[in-house]
Amino acid sequence: MKERAEYLLGKAAAGELEGAEAEELGRLLAGDPERAEAATRDARFGAFAGAVLDGGRRFERSLQARLRADREPAPFVEALERRMAPRRSGALLIAAAAAGLLAILGTVVLHREPPPDPVPAAPAPPPSPVVEQHAFRIHLKDAMIFSGKPDQRFGKGRVLEAGHGLGILVRWDLSDVPPGSDVRSATLLLSSRTPGPRASGFRAFEVRRPWDEATVTWNDFAEDHPWQEPGARGQDDCAHVPLGRLQPADGRRAAVRFNDEGVALVETWIRHPDRNLGILLTGEADRVLQFASRESDGHGPELVLEYVPERSER
């Protein structure tokens, strides 16, 4: 009993408690006010220890981003959306994406529902017995770019950050997927380095420049090759149609469920690997989200695909 409580309290300290375990811990503490008070003090102490020991870099970067956001009233994503408004109005987000996500992820349960889509959803296609599910993580490149340090290279870092003036670049090798495969759904999964990633305001966009993981910066997509506009904001740098929105997933993870255009793009990458330049994840939320990069021992961004190997009639 004591060990079970200690296990749950330790897991809570790590921010990795699952829903049922949180309820179990609540029940254990409810009958013991003294232990409950000690647990509260432990939690505060843990936050204090983090504030003292983490070096404050994430905090300062986040504060810097919020100060900048406060002074710059024309956010990137909003500007993109204004430019793309006529095209987006015709986009269809299919219900299959949501249904497929739950089928693929198994234990991954979204804690929050995505905001209601303004476009009516199409009916889900009938399930296919030949659908394969794969997660692509091994052959990937990732990097982050930061407006506060526009010439600094972050490609080898263990952390990827998204927020105002920050962007995450990710690219996967999809050569194991047979050309012509019919992609039913695509989901980007990111492991957060902080508990409960709150993710509103972050979206994924197609990258159009052959960025280099080792040398990409806010100013350059590769050494001596500047973006059209710093931060990949130019029309030649990034497509301006969002491919999906970042949502909280289970525990410490967050997910981007690719919309119809995102799924079509993945199919294009499979048919034409030379056009696979990956995605940029960025947003205008006033806080910084931290995720593990591929250098973080197997916790890097993951692309989960559900596809039919040979194209079939839908």
Binding site: D42, F45, L53, F59, S191
Partner: protein, 184 residues
Amino acid sequence: MMQPLLDRWRRGDSEAFLELVRPHLVSLRAMAAFYGPPPGSLWEADDLAQDALLEAFKAAEEFDPARGDIRSWLGGILRNRLRRAWQEASRERGRQAAEAMRAAERAEPVEDRHVDALRRCMEKLNETGRRVVRAHYGEGLPCAEIAAQVKMSLSALYVMLHRLRRGLRECVEREGLGPEGARP
């Protein structure tokens, strides 16, 4: 030395503001962690500390160095932010407003001796314990990664993490430096 930074801050220069507040960030984050409403995560505490710092940045004209140091002034702004956070929490969770107020009123920037006490207590841990504390609180590594590093099962690591945190807290409190606000 402070006046040029102060002038730049008053002209809206956020870098100058950051330079002025940087020496006090640990103290303010710790204050938010100690005195904020439950659940008391660092993530929530950092949000509150940043809210207060944004408020302070916009209130440049209200800071007068002749009336007190910037740390106390920032502490006052954060105290007000914590009071509001407790009020919001008490509305959401049905807590007593008076209880919330008592907790927020005690809030002060955390002093360096608290930070020193934590470091002293860490030195008393064995090598694995120090490594786990640094990896978790210092580097923010996921537990699965830490468990692999110290060659321990994930379940054992969770238990160890809990015991380490409690042991450190009790050690800091034994030195008479426990946060008063930890008992709202």
